[in-house]
C-alpha cells in the first residue's frame, strides 16, 4: 500500500551482498481496475539475474501490474515486497525542455547523488545520443527520446528494472542494443521485468503469461 512504499535506498553493492534475497516477491497479487480483477492471482519471485518477460493480450493488466509494483497503483489485493527499483512507463519521464544530459542530472539530484558526467556521456555515446546530449528532448525523435530514457535506467543505482513496452518506437538496431543491455544487466546481477509484445532476445529468461481473469462476473 501507499503508506508503506517499497524501500527506496538499495544499491547494487547491497544487492550483491544479499545474493540470496529476492529482489521482488509477490503472493496472490491481483490488480484491480474499477473493482474488476484483471488477472489470475500471481506468485512471482525475482532473484538477482532473472529476466522476466511479461506477455499477455491488450488489457490483460501488464501495465497495471508494473504500476502496482512501482507503487503507483493502489487497487490490488494480495501482497508484494520489493527493493528500490527503476520504473519505465509509457510516459518516458523526461522533461522535454531539458536535454538528455540535464535530465540525467535531474534524476541523479532526485536520488540525492551528484551526476557522474563522464559516465553519463559514455552511456549516451553507447546509445548513439552523443550529438544530441545537449539538445532539448522536445527536438529529439520518439526513438531518440526512448534511448535517452534508457540512459536513465543505466545510470540508476537500483538493480531491479520494471519496463513497460520499452521497444516502442525503437528501430531495429536500437532493439538489438536494448536486448544486449538487458542481457548485460541481468548478467551483472540485476533483474528485469519487461512487459512486451516483442519476444525478448535474451539468453536466459522466464516468460510469465498474464491470464485474463476467467471468472469475470459480467
Amino acid at each position: 500500500m501507499l503508506d508503506n512504499p517499497p524501500s527506496q535506498t538499495y544499491n547494487a553493492d547491497q544487492a550483491a551482498a544479499h545474493d540470496n534475497e529476492p529482489l521482488l516477491r509477490t503472493s496472490t497479487l491481483v490488480c484491480q481496475r474499477d473493482h474488476q480483477d484483471l488477472f489470475e492471482p500471481l506468485d512471482l519471485t525475482v532473484m538477482p539475474g532473472d529476466c522476466l518477460e511479461l506477455l499477455g493480450p491488450n488489457g490483460s493488466g501488464k501495465s497495471t501490474l508494473l504500476r502496482t509494483l512501482a507503487g503507483l497503483h493502489s487497487q490490488f489485493s494480495g501482497e508484494y515486497k520489493s527493493v528500490g527499483l527503476v520504473y519505465q512507463g509509457h510516459r518516458l519521464g523526461l522533461d522535454e525542455l531539458l536535454s538528455p544530459l540535464e535530465n540525467l542530472a535531474w534524476f541523479s539530484g532526485l536520488q540525492d547523488q551528484a551526476l557522474d558526467r563522464s559516465e553519463a556521456l559514455r552511456l549516451l555515446a553507447r546509445l548513439g545520443l552523443l550529438e544530441q546530449a545537449h539538445t532539448p528532448c522536445q527536438r529529439l525523435s520518439a526513438g531518440q527520446q526512448r534511448r535517452a530514457a534508457i540512459a536513465r535506467w543505466l545510470m540508476a543505482p537500483q538493480s531491479l528494472w520494471l519496463l513497460d513496452e520499452p521497444f516502442n518506437a525503437l528501430d531495429v538496431q536500437s532493439q538489438q542494443l536494448l536486448n544486449e543491455l538487458l542481457s548485460e544487466h541481468c548478467a551483472g546481477g540485476g533483474a528485469v521485468i519487461c512487459a512486451t509484445h516483442l519476444i525478448l532476445q535474451v539468453a536466459e529468461k522466464t516468460t510469465v503469461q498474464l491470464q485474463p481473469q476467467s471468472g469475470s462476473d459480467l
Partner: protein
C-alpha cells in the same frame, strides 16, 4: 538539492512566457483599474489595497495550473514519486522556483505598480516587505490545488474554486498590512499575522502537495 533547483530554474528560463504573461496580466489590470476609477489612486481610498491584493491572488492563480502539468504529462512526476530521496525537498524546490517567478517578481515590480497607483515612493519599501512575507503562502497553498487538479485536463476552473478560499487569510492580513502602510499607521501586527500564514503554509503545504500528487498519479 542543487541538481533539483538547477533543473527547475533552467526549465523556467526556457518557458519564459509562463512567467512573463501573468506579470503582464497584473500590470495591465492595475492599469485598467487606474484608468476606470481614478479615485482608486487617492491615498485615502480604501479600495486601493484590496484591489491590489485581489489582483495579486488572481495573477498567482494564472501560473498555478502549469506548476505540475508538464511533469504529469511527461511522466517525470511518476519518477519523482518512485525515486525521490527526499520528497519534501523535491516539492519545495518546485514551489520555491514558482515563487521566484511569481511572488518575488511581483515584489520587485512594486515600484512600477506603485507609480500606476499613485503611491508615494517612501511606501514602496514597506509594501515590498509585505509582499515578500505574504506571497510565499500563495505559492505554497496554491501547490496543493495544482497537485489535486493536475490529473484533470481542464483543471483551471476547479483549481480556482479550491484555492481561492484557502487564500483568504493571506488576503485579509495582506490587505490590512497594505492599508496600514498606505494610511501611515503601524503595520507590524498584520505583517506578523501574514508571516504566520506563510510559515504554517511552509510546514504543511509540501506534505499535502505530495499526498495530492500521489492521488493524481494513481487516478490515471
Amino acid at each position: 538539492m542543487k541538481g533539483l533547483l538547477q533543473r527547475e530554474l533552467v526549465a523556467t528560463l526556457r518557458t519564459r512566457g509562463s512567467v512573463i504573461n501573468p506579470l503582464g496580466f497584473l500590470l495591465l489590470s492595475i492599469l485598467l483599474f487606474a484608468i476606470a476609477d481614478p479615485g482608486v489612486r487617492d491615498e485615502q481610498s480604501k479600495d486601493l489595497s484590496s484591489v491590489f491584493w485581489v489582483l495579486i491572488l488572481l495573477t498567482n492563480m494564472l501560473s498555478l495550473d502549469a506548476m505540475f502539468r508538464r511533469d504529469f504529462d511527461s511522466g517525470a512526476l511518476e519518477q519523482m514519486l518512485i525515486s525521490a530521496h527526499m520528497p519534501f525537498v523535491a516539492i519545495l524546490a518546485r514551489i520555491f522556483v514558482h515563487w521566484l517567478g511569481s511572488g518575488l517578481l511581483i515584489t520587485l515590480f512594486v515600484p512600477l505598480l506603485g507609480l500606476l497607483l499613485g503611491l508615494r515612493p517612501e511606501m514602496f519599501l514597506p509594501i515590498m516587505l509585505v509582499l515578500l512575507v505574504g506571497t510565499p503562502a500563495l505559492s505554497l497553498l496554491g501547490s496543493i490545488g495544482a497537485a489535486l487538479t493536475v490529473g484533470f485536463s481542464r483543471g483551471g476552473a476547479i483549481l480556482a474554486l479550491l484555492i481561492l478560499p484557502l487564500f483568504l487569510p493571506v488576503l485579509i492580513f495582506g490587505n490590512a498590512s497594505v492599508a496600514a502602510v498606505v494610511s501611515g499607521q503601524a503595520y507590524t501586527a498584520p505583517l506578523v499575522w501574514l508571516a504566520l500564514c506563510s510559515s504554517v503554509a511552509l510546514t504543511l503545504a509540501p506534505w499535502a502537495t505530495w499526498a495530492a500528487l500521489k492521488i493524481s498519479v494513481e487516478m490515471q
